[in-house]
């Protein structure tokens, strides 16, 4: 079987893998690299549970061919915390109980972080539309939106010199 050899950077680490040319980035992350934090809820880009950043932009990793990752940088949920120190979005998800089953949570956190990376002061409407590609069936989104707004507030405070 024809396999592609791919050199890429995942969560800051130079990574090589062999993949079937038709394999998705999500397949490789989960099955070859054992980074199972990115979830497959649909395989068609409709649920956002597999959200990762590709060269800094959030994408559904189920809709990226693994071979496309050659020479690019991939950031997954596993790289969001710095060591044991949680990112403010992660911390606020915990404090606001913005998860119930937690299956959609990694996708939401990567998506929310992507928003706050570029817009540290989003309105509730902006948060809701930005996260519209991430399905959650447990929470009704209320606590998720609150957690993201609160994380934004905290990030703004962190970034403001005292």
């Amino acid at each position: 079987m024809n396999r592609n050899h791919v050199n890429t950077t995942i969560n800051g680490d130079a990574t090589q893998f062999l993949c079937d040319p038709g394999a998705s980035l999500l397949d490789v992350l989960r099955d070859a690299l054992h980074l199972t934090g990115s979830k497959e809820g649909c395989g068609s880009g409709d649920c956002g549970a597999c959200t990762v950043q590709l060269d800094g932009e959030m994408v559904c990793s189920c809709l990226v061919l693994a071979a496309e990752a050659e020479g690019r940088t991939v950031a997954t949920i596993e790289g969001v915390a710095e060591g044991s120190v949680l990112h403010p979005v992660q911390q606020k998800f915990l404090e606001h109980a913005a998860l119930q089953c937690g299956f959609c949570t990694p996708g939401f956190i990567v998506a929310a972080k992507s928003l706050l990376d570029r817009n540290p002061n989003p309105t509730e409407t902006e948060v809701r539309y930005w996260l519209a590609g991430n399905l959650c069936r447990c929470t009704g989104y209320d606590k998720i939106v609150r957690a993201v707004m609160d994380a934004a507030a905290e990030l703004r405070q962190e970034r403001t010199p005292a």
Binding site: A23, G45, G48, E57, L65, A67, E68, A111, S114, G133
Partner: protein
């Protein structure tokens, strides 16, 4: 289900060579339609040719009086070009209604066009805008009007070995405006039940001097409704003109009943949205309300 070969050439010629040598090979832009279709087994290309490694195919640039939009430019990147957003807000907004932010960070207007779905969001806006696309193929480059690319659901007029490399839109003057609206059941994440693109020019007096109205999801392909535009030209875009335009729009609808909408609803929405879209385009062109 053999796996496709994966290629990522760095020249347009390289893409053409791969596509012409293999009729089932598919160009890969954002992949948001292609990969879904491959996974579902609906298509089984023997090769996938990634066009994103060709530098000239990504991004928006000015060439004289023309905006050139590379075929591999993701929809969200259109928003980064302030001049394009000011000149063609309808096109940029239409492209940024497709799927989610995740999807739009990958999806391209070229892919949206060549997937040849009658419900593609960016296509009515591009057709209304009279956008041209540049097609590369074994015989070199040619220019094609966007509305001439789709021929039926899932089929395009592109010949073997051809692919879209860029879109061209004129730089705009004042007194011109465009808009796109669609009807979906939810607020996001749906395929258009109906989409309407409008593009207008008015004169100093507020009289409409040119108008193009294009409809999505009401026929096998996106349709340009010339009678609808004609109903507006020479008017001050008053209620009477809008009503005549709506009648022309409804007359041009030949939708089907499917899981996403009924014939009756699609016709009704085409009229409602056409009126709303024209009002936004007119406002953008500077017409007094």
């Amino acid at each position: 289900m053999p796996s496709p070969a994966f290629h990522a050439p760095d020249t347009v010629e390289g893409v053409v060579a791969l596509l012409s040598g293999d009729p089932t090979a598919r160009p890969l832009g954002g992949g948001t339609d292609l990969i879904v279709q491959m996974r579902s087994g609906r298509i089984a290309p023997s090769a996938v040719v990634d066009i994103k490694r060709i530098a000239s195919l990504s991004g928006v640039r000015r060439e004289g009086d023309v905006f050139v939009i590379g075929a591999a430019t993701p929809c969200t990147a259109l928003k980064d070009n302030a001049d394009l957003c000011a000149a063609w807000p309808g096109v940029v907004e239409a492209a940024n209604l497709i799927g989610s932010v995740q999807v739009r960070n990958r999806a391209t207007m070229a892919g949206n066009l060549c997937n040849a779905s009658p419900a593609a969001d960016s296509v009515p806006a591009l057709v209304a805008a009279e956008a041209i696309c540049v097609v590369a193929g074994p015989a070199g480059m040619r220019e094609v009007a966007v509305q001439d690319i789709p021929v039926s659901p899932g089929r395009t007029s592109l010949a073997s070995g051809e692919f879209v490399v860029e879109f061209r839109l004129p730089v705009r003057g004042a007194l011109e405006g465009d808009a796109y609206l669609r009807s979906i059941p939810r607020t996001e994440m749906d395929i258009a039940v109906v989409g309407v693109g409008a593009n207008l020019r008015i004169d100093d007096e507020g009289t409409c001097t040119a108008a193009r109205i294009a409809l999505g999801a009401v026929a096998p392909t996106v349709v340009l409704v010339e009678a609808a535009g004609a109903a507006l030209v020479g008017t001050k875009l008053d209620e009477e003109a809008l009503s005549a335009m709506v009648e022309a729009v409804k007359a041009a609808c030949a939708p089907i009943d499917d899981k996403r909408g009924t014939v009756a609803y699609r016709k009704a929405m085409a009229g409602v949205l056409a009126k709303r879209t024209v009002r936004i385009a007119a406002q953008r062109a500077g017409a007094k309300a």
